[in-house]
Symmetry: D2
Subunit: 348 residues, 4 copies
């Protein structure tokens, strides 16, 4: 790749937008040339407009970029969207219509028939929907990634579904506060507390997972034929969603075979050595009290799903614990990996 | 009742022991006359030996009691045990053999064939095992209460099992640090973290619930005929275990019927107006983000199970969230309620 | 008192407003008849408009009150103000002009020459400013109470200033999140963190303390003749401001004499046995690691200042630690105590 | 340097010991060949004996090292001591007598007349005491580094003392839980709490700072001629001690001159480009709410002192906030930097 591809971030001042900015710093293929946000921020420098919350310093070049409004007049080929759902739907459509390749972390278009919802290790074939989109929507297209808690469940279930067939899934989540953006969860609500409810989250897990693991059937995706029951909770953890899962499989297997399958699983991003791809998408931990968000969330640069405590379930077949970094692989990192795949495939 | 019954606390300096001391202050029927602990503490005053951690001040009378060793030579009729499992088994047996009525919060004897594991709203009839015990063990007896996370699951399932028949139960818990005693969980382990494992806890939930809801069959309890899959987690919450539950019932019912059943459920402690009995053993919350440990754990003085988010489950029949105060109804308060019942029945 | 005095709360749906509502429930002298808030809330019932965050349930009667706009057309004699500083100045002036007795927790009028800033144990004589106010402002008047961290510093310094003369004061605070209202501090900002800055807080401590402990001189208060250096920090604690203080006194004394002075200090509220008055305004703790917010903040119903670790200072004379409940004595409880005093004095 | 110097860690399984292990991984000059701990651990592999708590994985080579007892029979030239104070005194003396170069993080020998207490940017000349030590103690010697909260105060005061003369210092600390080792602070004690006391800490700050900034006078150090008043607190923060400081200087200066002085300060480690030396020992932050432990503690790999909010003090001259990484520059990293200096100077 001789010249870097120009990319922009929509909603660049928000929590997900900032994560995009951080992950795009020094990206080997992409150059961040545009940051766009609400009209309130437009015209300021990014350094003025963004209340920078990342632990690494704000990249100097980005600090001096002028924030633009979220209109499809940006000087870039790819638009990464960290927009709030209240505005993402329309803005992303506008960018797609105007010819941009939009990689969105927002929920708005995930379930649209012509929009792929992609984890590139699992369902890169769904990207074929882009052709249909171009017919419908104009010169550009939208590719979405999963909700932050769906992501890790789908990553862990995918290889099992391929090998053994998933039939039923229980999942109870304990989700980090960073999943709610900034300012997000009030400290008075969560310090020393558990909130046993996250608006819309259970529905997302129950449906998005089935689209991701579904089969492409003509011009749409047929939802995978299993059922999920999700219960979601917010806990006082900064980064890292933990999920307790029980799963019923269609074919008999063993704890050891499941470990083998997950540990050895590789996908297109690994094959193509995409810059953001974790060498091993699913890490297995053997200690009985792991994974833990505080201690394990940074493994594989936050791009893997970490699975532990794989053991039999007295009702379904197996149960285990999943951990993933909700703002990296569960958000901005996922969009970037999707974009890398399309670049590697020559589609951008 | 003209004269108060003398009671002692075994393991009085520990976390559960302190909770016994606090709950027994000003008890209308019981007078705390003895505090017993390890040989290291014996001989000191309780004020010297105990690092008092309760939010209310150490009762003055108790402060000046001399700590005795845990030998069956105490001047009391009832012995409440907050002993560590490493010593509880033998000490409690010794006290029972010596004629004391032992009410234990320890796990050691819970599954003994001749020892009742009692939630008085649900299985007071199991107390009939006391007669068999007296034959085996001597003049006294042991009555146990459930593990702190089992307690609230069993309280919520009991009325449903009686009315509709429980068949399968999933439960994922988020348990408070006070459940691990003092010093218990290191702050470096749990601040901003989730630990997806509590030693022995899942096994306790899976078996104790079935004993409590089992039927007395001759001289032992037949385990209830359902199966539980438990996943347990420690979270940075001070008091209050939260549990996400899915349940399959043998008879069809409705969300409304379940709420009715739980809300209207009453047992012997309510009928007899025992001093520690909550007026309503199971509280129903209708707000979609409740119950929460920080905001709700003190309801009903910590003696009720609080149930919220009752709704259908796409795999089993219904799912809901349970909260309970792990060191009150989940520990010391449960033992005291058991003792009150036996006093009210004239068995002490 | 044969009939209760009708009172209203301005800003009733906010954090301080809710605390007023809770503390006024079952008040022996006051009856809450009016709840007023922003136009957005006006017209709704209080139960609909307020996101109730107190640990005790929302009083049933108040739940059904209709929220009024903050205009001086309320059916009450006293208006307690928990208004945000952005609107409090004008609204409180309007209420005073219209004849209401306004007791404000907002900063806006605290430093006005004709407005008393009162801690009734210390400077009840400043209430004489009310007469001047009535000349200036109309039929009613405004009485203010101190900022939440100033309150406990002033309470502890007051008796020392009277007895020994305060000359210099260092104070470093560690302040609870509830001091910032709701939603207030974002959990991403404070979980596992310290924020070494609270906007405007150091200035408030440095000046308000001197007004409270100043002398009434004709128609205004002469600031007390000492200097304070304050450093303020936000810490992940729910309720209770902790303050590390060093003080230089004008007259020599001893640790024991300071303890005596603070422990035995009483003021008008104690003499008059006002309903909200703590029996002892300043509690002394002798344990070397107390007071602690989590364990001690509820003492004396949150209405006392708690002082511990009194010991010599190698630079100034003495140093100690103060703790107080920032939303009770540090906010709503202080306003109510001020109102009780004026009622007891027949001025309302 | 052609061959790496063999080093060992005493107390290698503890919290500080683990930090030594982590920081020594891939060290360019040192090779970790020995891990020593209590007799209980001796004989096991390090992987078995240590409950690894660092966020980075346990280095594979070290995992397989056999833990030795803490006796001066180790195959290494340098012994880094993370021993508990209850045993450090004697063990370190034994190692020095046997010819080892001991770099200790323990408090035991810090105030010994012949033992240097060194921050190499500030008082490298104190290392001359080593010669006296060798006369007294045998072939080896002991070099100590400051207590974790003293370290950052001394780092910030040192350049000011050199330039302007320090006369009086107030400091109130808010210290992280990792400063207490593992298991250290119980979660029940600190979650949502402040503990206004750390045993022995105030005394250490008040005396150690004066030794570090004192002048070498013949065969001992004359304490610097200023006075410190310290108040120390534990807060629920994982890593990073925050300190609020007020200082009186002997010569007049300005906020800008102080910033200049601190920002431009460099010492021997920077001059010699020691491997662990931060390029700039003192970082200045200009944002009014920084530094914050969660957001800033990792700057400069935890080896710098970070200073913010420099502003005038109404009582003394200036006040500011200091932050430092208590387990890196405040503990293991400090010992390693000391060792690097002696190696660079050819003394090891």
């Amino acid at each position: 790749m001789h010249e870097k591809i120009k990319v922009g971030v929509l909603g660049a001042t928000g929590a997900v937008g900032q994560k995009f900015v951080r992950l795009l710093e020094n990206h080997p293929w992409f150059e961040l040339t545009e940051v766009a946000a609400s009209d309130r921020s437009a015209g300021k420098t990014y350094g003025e407009a963004a209340r920078w919350l990342q632990s690494s310093p704000l990249p100097e070049r980005t600090r001096h970029l002028t924030v633009k409004p979220c209109r499809p007049e940006l000087d870039c080929r790819i638009a990464f969207s960290g927009l709030d759902a209240s505005v993402a739907g329309e803005v992303e459509s506008d960018f797609a219509a105007a010819g941009y390749a939009v990689f969105s972390n927002s929920r708005n278009h995930r379930l649209d028939d012509d929009v792929p919802l992609v984890i590139p290790e699992l369902n890169a074939d769904h990207l074929a929907l882009i052709d249909r989109q171009k017919k419908n929507r104009g010169a550009g297209f939208i590719v979405t990634n999963a909700n932050c808690s769906t992501m890790f469940l789908a990553m862990a279930l995918g290889p099992l579904h391929q090998a053994f067939g998933v039939e039923k899934v229980f999942v109870a989540t304990m989700q980090a506060i960073s999943g709610a953006g900034y300012p997000g969860v009030a400290s008075l609500d969560i310090l020393g507390n558990v909130i046993p409810y996250i608006s819309g989250e259970e529905e997302k897990i129950e449906i998005e997972t089935r689209k991701i693991l579904g089969a492409l059937a003509g011009e749409r995706v047929q939802l995978a034929d299993f059922v999920i029951s999700a219960q979601t909770n917010r806990v006082p953890v900064e980064d890292g969603h933990t999920e307790c899962v029980s799963v019923k499989l269609r074919q008999p297997t063993s704890v050891e075979a499941i470990k083998e399958r997950l540990r050895n699983f590789r996908g297109l991003p690994q094959e193509l050595k995409l810059p953001s791809a974790p060498p091993q998408p699913i890490l297995i931990m053997e200690e009985n009290d792991r994974p833990q968000p505080k201690r394990d969330v940074e493994r594989a640069n936050g791009m893997a799903a970490i699975v532990g405590r794989i053991r039999p379930c007295p009702i379904l077949d197996y149960r285990f614990v999943i951990l993933g970094h909700n703002t990296i692989r569960g958000a901005a990192g996922a969009s970037i990996l999707n974009a890398e795949l399309l670049v590697a495939q020559g589609k951008i």
